[in-house]
């Protein structure tokens, strides 16, 4: 196996990853002030031409059902809400930051983003039905939940390839394998980056505890939705690392989401399928 990274070596490498655009930090600060108006927020977003044009394109995508009807950022904020637009800015910024990451032998970055889009759709549907998390937040968490893998792949490609092969050969889910050989998981790496990029704490904690929702504290609902959504997208053909095993959900979390009932599970799968397709078109626009 290629040389093993450590959490310290990865933290150093993450330090070299560029920060997200300043517009995001300013947006978060303004959102904390309840007196901020939609026009003021729109002005902040419009400072970054590239981001604001992408956000306008996304709010007009079939995904939101307002195709061609939203003509300004401020109108988008009024229709979709502050948080939905902020999440769009966040997703756009993350995709921009990772634009240079290429596929390689043993890993296709496109598979990972398609998997992420499918996960975001499943997460949103499950959040809507269970009301255990905000649907928009569930969506963006699904979209960004695998950033730890992107960091591992772009900073330690040889190790990453070897770990995928080992995961396949040992029939051990990728995260469990990393835990066994490194003592930490790809979600931990994702949480490190989420910290550097100053993601909202709810998002960062859901990413960190995705496979261990019981430890997510206040974010247990969001983390358990993310775990289930990640599983469903892999099982329905949108696996980010095809040929590696699925992770098993915790029995209590599965029950708490109502998924131990066959009919509830069937309903979730059937409601998620068309949304997964829409989320893929959302992804194409993001790219």
């Amino acid at each position: 196996m290629a040389e093993k990274p450590t959490i310290e070596s990865l933290t150093d490498k993450i330090r070299n990853i560029p920060t997200l655009p300043a517009v995001l930090g300013e947006l978060s600060r303004r959102l904390e002030d309840p007196k901020t108006s939609s026009d003021e927020l729109a002005q902040v977003i419009q400072k970054d031409q590239s981001i604001s044009s992408k956000v306008l394109k996304l709010v007009n995508s079939p995904f939101y059902g307002y195709a061609g009807k939203i003509h300004s950022i401020s109108q988008g904020i009024m229709i979709l809400g502050f948080n939905a637009v902020k999440n769009l800015v966040l997703s756009t910024s993350v995709f921009e930051a990772f634009r240079g990451v290429k596929s390689g032998d043993g890993f296709r970055i496109e598979d990972l983003w398609i998997h992420s889009a499918a996960t975001s759709a499943c997460a949103k549907v499950l959040a809507e039905t269970t009301r255990k998390a905000d649907p928009d937040e569930a969506f963006v968490t699904g979209l960004l939940h695998d950033i730890g893998k992107v960091v591992l792949w772009s900073t330690e490609p040889e190790f990453f390839k070897a770990a995928v092969t080992l995961s396949m050969n040992r029939h051990l889910p990728f995260g469990d394998l990393l835990q066994q050989i490194l003592g930490f998981r790809d979600e931990d790496v994702g949480a490190l980056l989420a910290e550097k990029w100053k993601f909202p704490p709810s998002l960062r904690e859901a990413i960190r505890w995705r496979e261990r929702p019981g430890q997510a504290g206040d974010q247990q609902g969001l983390a358990s939705i993310l775990q289930a959504a990640n599983l469903l997208s892999c099982a329905t053909g949108f696996h980010d690392l095809p040929s590696t095993p699925l992770g098993a959900p915790n029995t209590e979390e599965w029950k708490a989401l109502g998924l131990s009932e066959d009919q509830a599970l069937r309903n979730w799968i059937e409601s998620s399928r068309p949304r997964m397709d829409m989320a893929k078109s959302f992804l194409e626009m993001l790219n």
Binding site: R108, E110, D111, I114, M168, H171, P173, L231, L232, C234, A235, T236, G237, H239, S243, T244, P245, L246, G247, A248, P249, T251, W254, L259, S260, D262, L265, R266, I269, E270, D277, K280
Partner: protein, 97 residues
């Protein structure tokens, strides 16, 4: 039937092998095209693809059989827990409407 690649959605089945300009096989006949694969074909300059009609019951049965194999393989290497058994069973049932 020949269909422009831009019109093809994931799940379409290739009737004939899909070749690049140097006649290298990019996807053999019978491949169920995923979104990732469609993107790759676009990147390799493929414009038209011969796919089976969705009304073709034999082709649909073939695609179903392939999905069954994929599920069996994926769940076969995954942990054996009641939740994953349940998910596999329901996904298998959904294949048969």
């Amino acid at each position: 039937m020949l269909v422009a690649l831009s019109q093809i959605e994931s799940g379409a089945v290739a009737r004939a092998s899909i070749l690049d300009s140097r006649d290298q096989v990019l996807a053999p006949a019978g491949t169920v095209l995923s979104d990732g694969m469609i993107q790759t074909l676009k990147a390799r300059g493929v414009n038209l693809v011969d796919i089976v009609s969705v009304e073709d019951p034999a082709a649909l049965e073939d695609a179903r059989a392939k999905e069954q194999v994929r599920l069996a393989e994926l769940f076969g290497i995954s942990p054996k827990t009641p939740e994953l058994f349940q998910l596999q069973r329901i996904l298998m049932e959904s294949l048969h409407g």
